[in-house]
Amino acid sequence: MSDPVPRDTLLRYSPGVRTNHWLVAIAFVLAALSGLALFHPALFWLSGLFGGGPWTRILHPFVGLFMVLVFFTLAASVWDDNRLQSADWQWLRQWRDVVNNREERLPEVGRYNAGQKLLFLVLVVCLLGLLVTGPLMWRAYFTLPVRLVRLASVLHAICALVIICTIIVHIYAGFWVRGSVHAMLRGTVSPGWAWKHHRAWFRQITHAANPRARSD
């Protein structure tokens, strides 16, 4: 609550959550670019961004570990709000209304909608997958049975593919739902934004005795 919040805005993401989110985002971009450089020869030139092939090989695992660490710190703080509930399945069944901007037909959404909760779930699962398979391939420190390393290599690539595609959707969704990027950059949303996209959350925070008590 150190942010001065203008009267006509609602605080959606605290400075701590925002900092944490962008640390994850920066680490993700670096991990993805360095990983893609090692994955496909057509993208090997990306290793130039990291100081060449050997530096890419050296840095990638550390960037990945840092990403996992900051992600799970963030995940712990938003865990409860991302539990899938029965209304979420209705929201997902109406995915056509979602993608066609017919939000008025959807069930009221709490702090996070079912799409965001699915994103969260995919990130948790894939990052755990990357965390387990990554060190198995980390030749600088580990020498493991080659069959295990081969399996880990394939699973690492699959987890990375899923997570990269999921993040592409996440980035586009931030652009698509206008105001979301601002919310994560500066923390606030307009009342109309909360009313339209997260009405149950809007009611929860504005109907409380002190509307802005809840900030995270």
Partner: protein, 306 residues
């Protein structure tokens, strides 16, 4: 100057042709290792050390003539000693010179992510170009024979070069030159197969009816071949792989997965772009703001409304 030999038929992490105008019109080369003639003197190991200026750390005696215990970044070839009790109850001392097999379809080259760190010459030799090596160890993951070793000092991968430097100027590999029994011979792959056939015929006439040539088709054949007394049981020779091939997992990972994954990523991004083109952004309008404000005002305490 890895590219200047002008006879590179395959290059790691490279999709366009490499300089390959100089073909190997006299045929590809091969080293034939006749395990039935080998006496385990290790002259080949010494010759390899000498020619390549390699000195491995002094190891420990682990109860075998095998020394050093394993291949390493500085031991590119190694006599592996196996004691086998045959069905007659006799002891057979099987000695196999281990090292890179120079596969026609090399798993190391397939797995390598660094352009030009592994090349295959038109004469069949698979060579590491360590100046391009990034030290990831994918070659170790890709190799069906467990050959490449990453140096702890410079983090580069090393293995037998089949003395590509000597062969390029018309000499035979150093190990061949040193072998005192003729267990090691070198020439065109065709000649080596003919020579092996004669040897196998001779062995069969002397009671080794399972004698045969080890030139595994699973990796497209190899440019290092063995004559084995027990070709039906290659595993007797310190675990020589019976049917080596590039692991299906490696084929998937470094084969189809690469273009398919990039296509899926590109399509995901395109889907976003065309969603924007067709549907557009989801924006809050003044009615939403008004409705929100009305709701808030209705619930605000009088003092907060000021």
């Amino acid at each position: 100057m890895p590219l200047q030999s002008l006879d590179i038929i395959r290059r790691s992490a490279t999709t366009t042709p490499s300089p390959e105008v100089r073909g190997s019109y006299s045929g590809t080369v091969a080293k034939l290792i006749d395990t039935t003639k080998c006496i385990g003197c290790k002259a080949c190991q010494v010759a390899c050390m000498e020619w390549n200026d390699l000195r491995d750390d002094v190891g420990i005696n682990f109860g075998s003539y095998q020394n050093p215990a394993d291949l390493s970044d500085r031991s590119w070839t190694l006599m592996r000693f196996s004691e086998y009790e045959n069905p007659k109850g006799d002891l057979e001392w099987l000695i196999r010179k281990d090292g890179c097999m120079h596969c026609a379809d090399p798993g190391c080259l397939k797995a390598c992510p660094s352009p030009g760190a592994i090349v295959q010459y038109s004469n069949g030799i698979v060579d590491f170009q360590e100046e391009n090596c990034i030290g990831c160890g994918y070659c170790v993951t890709g190799c069906p024979f467990n050959i490449p070793r990453i140096s702890k000092r410079d983090k580069k991968a090393y293995k037998c070069t089949l003395c590509s430097d000597r062969v390029a100027v018309g000499m035979e590999p150093a190990c061949i030159k040193a072998c005192p029994t003729g267990a090691l011979v070198f020439g065109t792959k065709e000649d080596m197969k003919e020579h092996a056939a004669e040897r196998i015929e001779d062995l069969k006439s002397r009671g080794f009816d399972k004698a045969g040539l080890y030139d595994p088709p699973g990796v497209g054949g190899t440019h290092v071949m063995y004559v084995l007394h027990h070709a039906d049981q290659p595993g007797l020779y310190a675990g020589l792989v019976a049917e080596p091939r590039i692991s299906p997992l490696v084929r998937l990972w470094k084969g189809r997965a690469k273009p398919v994954s990039l296509a899926i990523m590109a399509l995901t991004a395109l889907a976003g772009f065309f969603h924007f083109v067709r549907v557009g952004r989801n924006e809050v309008d003044e009615r939403d703001e008004a409705a929100a404000r009305a709701s808030m005002d209705a619930n605000r305490k009088p003092e907060a409304r000021a």
